[in-house]
Symmetry: C2
Subunit: 429 residues, 2 copies
């Protein structure tokens, strides 16, 4: 059942995915990594070999690929006999990589929603603008396509599904909270591609409230929570991928995403955004050079990959779910804590790349094992959550829960039990 | 004695100069305006004609010119029979325009020190790096070249000369203070070319203290003064052109330049500068576009010319001079107040362009009249100050003085009298 994997990208997430794939090449097969810049993939491969991360002897190869070129991507999939393709590169590539998978029959995985470089924060639901247009073709061809298989989107969708299908009898609200309480020691840097990072915040903040799309501006709405390990944190209502699929797939009236920002980040962001320097629309200099301001900002900022060696502290990502359980209004916090230094020791990457890259490989492993090889297009919440969360706990990302009974490690059996008896419980209610 | 004038530039300062030249075309002659972008100069000429600003019927013509092209500039000087050339365009053009004047014999005027686009805040004195290398050739050829004939540098140099040669017997310190207490109503904008504006603040702040060059960082040293009209203002030690000639031409131990900044300006500047977005060194985007970040910042900021219609409030620029007069330690504040709305009503420009453009035309008028046609290279403090300050008072920029005896209009006779008896006074002392 070994399946060869092609990983596209050479940034932080691709690096973590490549390490984790290498560490599980007994379940996966050949591991091929491809990016626009060959030297970056070669360095990545050399790092993995240096660290002796391959579980058993096997193929680990670097390739140069412009993944916007569908024919070149198809040729590489065929040449490497890849059965699983993970786009861990730019979100601008999703649709061309998906096309290559649909044409070759390879399973498709990504970790972030497709974006058109010329547009920002389009009409919701975002998945309807690109990915879901290919749902019928996936079904018809029996191609497995797993969307948003990072942490957020990704694991937080599985947490939401677990809460809705097992823990609660009725879910009233899901608040996904993402806090990086780590420190990179630079004046300012983004933790992943600045272009994708800033694009999340420059347009309308869409949230799902009272069963409908609600529009806000960035930094307009915030909340403060006392969270495990990272303590009291202020987070801001932010538009994010998972809200656009959870709102369609779960019958929950309020689904919101909250991201933590320090005052310094907000100040730098506000200055750049107010000046127009985060725009994706080109400007022309007095000398006649046409350039997209956001791409210039990206060029002057630290390469997110370069932050990893100095990164300290922890990240918190979780779902705060409110609803009715056994007839009682109650709350469940289901979350992960990751550590920047531990992530670096294992994969040469900081925890933000780590939390996005590990789940993508968990998804690949579940496809290889057949559990998630669904032969259709699926967002994470449409797939069985317990095997995913359980596997993640074994390959580097542990889950904890906090409710009225206290804070404890995730116990798969407890959730399986609740899920198994859900129907009779609801009939009884 | 009419002398044809060629004005290079189409920004705010060039516009003010063109209006003022038109208003005095009985003393000057044909007025030709040239810039890289013909449409801008044509619009400028159309505005002057609309406002019927020409004092008497005469030539007012627009030309397209790349003033870095010395041969093209010489050809235009000859074709238009220009005897005075004012570079009111970019400070990057000074040396090529000066070369064209040296080769054709036309008098040269500029309003800011020459800059090399690839360098910032070079070794002091700045004039020694470029302008003063041509001093001998000016002298030999009898070409008049007047450097830094705006307000600062320019009028503040004349104020300093007046204080040193007439008011005081010994000057101990000159603090030039520049405050814009006006408001343009935008999130952020610079009042003249952002490229030149920011370049003033990104490198070493050079000041002349205790008879030697002193290096500081921007925003490291500040002072707070109670100033006429604009009230209590905090200003910051800033590197500026005039310090580099006054330190050589006047025997004064402390010469400093102070510029007013609001907290918002400082915050935006600090963010942009810390990120590297004010760098004059090119960066390359991930897509391979090579571009200078500062030029992109310039492209996204409001065109300074566009601020003028909405600008309200006043500017203060003056010299606070301390020294010994008639044996007594005393202080003289000599200054101008300009009004943004009045400047716009007269010249379609705000007061910052107005205060820089009017003195340049005063210099041209004094050359045309012979009083300043010195047939050599001179900074403003080397030329008779009283006729200049007196003329400025009649064409739009009035001077006031404040000392122990109070605040009053500048009285040319009072200063002439002091200057005339300086030698016998110093002999008596």
């Amino acid at each position: 059942m070994k399946k060869n994997v092609l990983i596209i990208g050479a940034g932080g997430v691709a690096q973590v995915a490549a390490y984790k794939a290498a560490m599980h090449n007994d379940v996966l097969g050949d591991i091929n990594i491809a990016s626009r810049t060959l030297s970056k993939v070669e360095a990545l491969v050399a790092g993995i070999l240096d660290k002796k991360a391959l579980k058993r002897p096997g193929v680990l190869a670097a390739h140069e690929l412009d993944a916007l070129d569908v024919e070149a991507t198809k040729a590489l999939i065929r040449r490497t006999k890849s059965q699983i393709v993970l786009n861990a590169g730019s979100a601008f590539l999703n649709m061309s990589v998906l096309r290559a998978c649909l044409d070759t029959g390879a399973a498709y995985i990504d970790t972030a929603i497709h974006e058109d470089p010329t547009k920002v924060c389009e009409q919701p639901p975002w998945y309807g603008n690109y990915e879901w247009k290919h749902r019928d073709e996936c079904e018809r061809k029996g191609v497995t396509a797993i969307l948003g298989a990072g942490f957020d989107p990704g694991v937080v969708n599985a947490y939401a599904a677990l809460a809705a299908t097992a823990w609660f009898d009725r879910v009233d609200s899901i608040d996904i909270i993402d806090v990086n309480a780590g420190s990179h020691g630079r004046y300012f840097a983004t933790n992943f591609d600045p272009e994708i990072n800033f694009r999340e915040f420059t347009g309308t903040v869409w949230s799902w409230q009272q069963g409908q799309w609600t529009a806000n501006k960035m930094f307009e709405v915030n909340r403060t929570d006392d969270l495990p390990v990272v303590g009291t944190q202020t987070t801001y209502l932010t538009g994010h991928d998972e809200v656009h699929s959870l709102s369609a797939n779960l019958n929950v009236p309020d689904i919101r995403f909250w991201m933590g920002f320090g005052d310094h980040y907000i100040n730098v962001f506000t200055v750049l955004n107010s000046l127009g320097l985060l725009s994706e629309q080109p400007v022309t200099t007095a000398e006649g050079v046409e350039v997209v301001p956001l791409k210039v900002v990206k060029a002057v900022l630290p390469d997110p990959v370069s932050l990893a060696p100095d990164y300290t502290g922890k990240t918190f990502i979780g779902d705060l779910v409110r609803g009715v359980r056994d007839g009682v209004e109650s709350e469940l916090l289901i979350y992960n804590i990751a550590d920047h230094e531990e992530a670096f020791a294992e994969t040469n990457s900081q925890a933000i790349s780590y939390t996005a890259g590990v789940p993508a490989i968990a998804a690949a492993l579940l496809i290889a094992k057949g559990e998630w090889d669904c032969h259709r297009m699926a967002n994470i919440e449409e797939l069985p959550p317990v095997p995913f969360i359980d596997l993640l706990g074994r390959i580097g990302l542990t889950t904890r829960v906090r409710d009225a009974a206290g804070d404890r490690a995730f116990n798969a059996a407890e959730f399986r039990e609740r899920a198994a008896h859900r129907d009779e419980r609801l009939r009884g209610a």
